[in-house]
């Protein structure tokens, strides 16, 4: 892992069992992401993108290899440590927004702070982020009263409120129309540019992938064009 690298993946493998069959989802992935980089991972369905996303997000442990994120070794982490990783080190943006339907936009963001024990911290800088995302006037609305684009922008705010080392976005425009897709992608690029937020975005859409500094392609559990 170089000095500027925030994520270093070496020979990452993941095997999981479906019935009696072992499925090799990742077959030796190598990846290096620099601090402040906006990286797009592109690939067809079944290429292992989502499995990589889940491992990097600490949602599931790898089978073998090494993953170093912000100086922490994911392979050696216990469940508790991976839970802790999700609190502070990574932020998630999902295709389906995944906001809690019972809470307002503000509370969807606050609950992420609460879980990470950041609640109560007055962050005027974050108010600027909310303005940048264009949701500062929509914070008291519940998800059902918001458009898909607005919901996704709230999800982005929730993902970065705890200042994660890396933002993982899994098909963030998959449920949006072209206009909203472009708005969300521009916002991600703005966040990366203005805040230096490291972003790893998974997508199957080449146009969306082009918003990143760099695009890597996955196929059959491997990087076809690994960038190091």
């Amino acid at each position: 892992m170089s000095e500027t690298s925030i994520l270093s993946v070496r020979d990452l493998r993941k095997v999981y069992r479906v019935g009696d069959v072992d499925v090799h989802a990742l077959r030796g992935v190598d990846l290096e992401v620099a601090r402040g980089e906006f990286l797009s991972v592109i690939g067809p369905s079944g290429s292992g993108k989502s499995t990589l996303f889940h491992i990097l997000g600490g949602l599931t442990p790898p089978t073998s290899g090494s993953v170093s994120m912000d100086g922490r070794d994911l392979l050696a982490m216990s469940d508790r440590q991976r839970t802790d990783l999700r609190k502070r080190t990574v932020g998630f943006v999902f295709q389906k927004y995944n906001l809690l339907p019972t809470l307002s936009a503000r509370d969807n963001i606050r609950i992420a702070q609460y879980i990470a024990r950041h609640e109560g911290t007055d962050d005027p800088h974050f108010a600027d982020v909310l303005k940048l995302l264009g949701i500062d006037k929509r914070l008291d609305h519940k998800p059902r009263a918001m458009s898909g684009g607005e919901q996704q922008r709230v999800a982005i705010a929730r993902a970065i409120v705890n200042h994660p080392a890396i933002l993982l976005a899994d098909e963030p425009t998959g449920n949006l129309d072209t206009e909203n897709s472009n708005a969300v992608l521009n916002l991600l690029r703005d966040l990366n540019k203005r805040l230096g937020q490291t972003i790893l975005m998974i997508t199957h859409n080449p146009e969306a992938a082009a918003f990143g500094h760099r695009v890597v392609t996955m196929r059959d559990g491997r990087m076809v064009h690994p960038a190091a």
């Binding site: 997000g57 995944n98 019972t102």
Partner: protein, 365 residues
């Protein structure tokens, strides 16, 4: 923030919240009503026993304060009357007329010499063998007025008077008539003894117990008698209360289990989101248990309030003999029972939620 999430979850499904609350409330109400009825019955018995005005009560040794053994020859009354410090003695015959109701046969003039006159709110004392007097509580519940006909022991009686409650019994008929009807001629259930001074009560009790042949009788002071009106002395009541409490726990368990199980299934994706945000299994479990605790508290408050309604219903519609007390000292106990049942019911759904795999949960449709 976690409490806000819990409250919003409850608000999000108002019908489920309402039904769960009502079901837990019914369980709490069931317990409080049963305890209230038991206590009301016992306190009423105590109040009326004190209203007799006797210093000593004598009963067959095979009976208890709440059972109706007959077997006293009336001549024992005359024997007791001759003992030192005894100013007068009289007897009463009691006959059960239903689950919790009874009719009492009294020699009214003699009884009134001991306890003072009945205070008649309407009418007068009975003068004919087929006349009955009832207290105002019984009259109100049965909508009785002076001159009305009342069926007791399969025969009609005419209400001659309605007296103020708190003395002896609710339904009183002439002693001789009751003895004839029940083929207990010359027999009584209780003997009531008035002394020259209440200060001599213990001394006379000791004296009477020492007399030859008195070992087949129970000789009690007012305090002794009143202390016997307890849940333990009503056959099977304690066990019955235990069964109702057990049923309450089971009902609470099942209701909350079903409610929280469906809630956890419905919120599978949300649980995945919380886990993705870094929520620990303990956090997820805590959300479920807090939600359950709020349902239990709401249910307990509902149950307590409903007991006021059941009291009104019983007072208004139930037959004579049923009195429900409000029992604040049992509120916390009943709420605790509801909480235990609810938490037991939430335990498995809560653990299921806590152990939910985040990836599976996030892909749940």
């Amino acid at each position: 923030m976690i409490n806000k999430l819990v409250l919003e979850n409850l608000r999000h499904r108002p019908i489920r919240t309402l039904l769960s609350t009502v079901a837990i409330g019914v369980q709490v109400c069931m317990i409080l009503t049963l305890v209230g009825l038991s206590r009301g019955f016992l306190q009423d018995q105590q109040r009326r026993a004190r209203g007799i005005g006797a210093d000593i009560f004598i009963q067959d040794s095979g009976a208890s304060a709440l059972s109706l053994s007959v077997g006293f020859p009336e001549k024992v009354i005359r024997f007791i009357e001759k003992q030192p410090h005894v100013t007068m003695a009289t007897g009463a015959l009691m006959q059960s007329t239903g689950a919790l109701s009874m009719v009492t046969g009294l020699d009214l003039p003699e009884f009134q010499k001991m306890s003072g006159s009945f205070r008649f709110l309407h009418g007068r004392a009975y003068e004919q063998p087929d006349e009955v007097i009832v207290d105002d509580y019984y009259a109100r519940q049965h909508n009785l007025h002076v001159g009305d006909r009342l069926m007791i022991l399969n025969r009609p009686w005419r209400v001659s008077g309605i007296f103020e409650q708190g003395k002896m019994a609710r339904v009183i008929i002439p002693l001789r008539t009751l003895q004839d009807l029940t083929q207990n001629n010359g027999k009584v259930t209780w003997i009531y003894v008035k002394l020259d001074s209440p200060d001599n009560t213990q001394k006379v009790i000791d004296y009477l117990k020492a007399l030859p042949g008195m070992d087949r009788f129970r000789v009690l002071s007012v305090q002794d008698l009143v202390s016997q009106f307890s849940v333990q002395n009503i056959p099977m009541l304690e066990g019955f209360i235990g069964v109702v409490i057990g049923l309450g726990v089971v009902v609470g368990f099942l209701v909350v289990f079903l409610s929280m199980y469906t809630a956890v299934l419905e919120r599978t994706r949300e649980i995945g989101v919380l886990k993705a945000l870094g929520a620990s299994p303990g956090f997820v479990l805590s959300v479920v248990l807090r939600e359950t605790s709020i349902l239990a508290v709401l249910g307990a408050v509902t149950g307590i309030l409903v007991t006021y309604g059941t009291k009104w219903l019983i007072t208004t519609f139930a037959p004579g003999g049923l009195i429900q007390e409000i029992v604040p000292d049992w509120w916390a106990i009943a709420a605790g029972i509801a909480l235990v049942g609810a938490l037991l019911g939430a335990a498995w759904p809560g653990l299921k939620a806590a152990r939910q795999d985040a990836i599976e949960a996030l892909s749940y449709e």
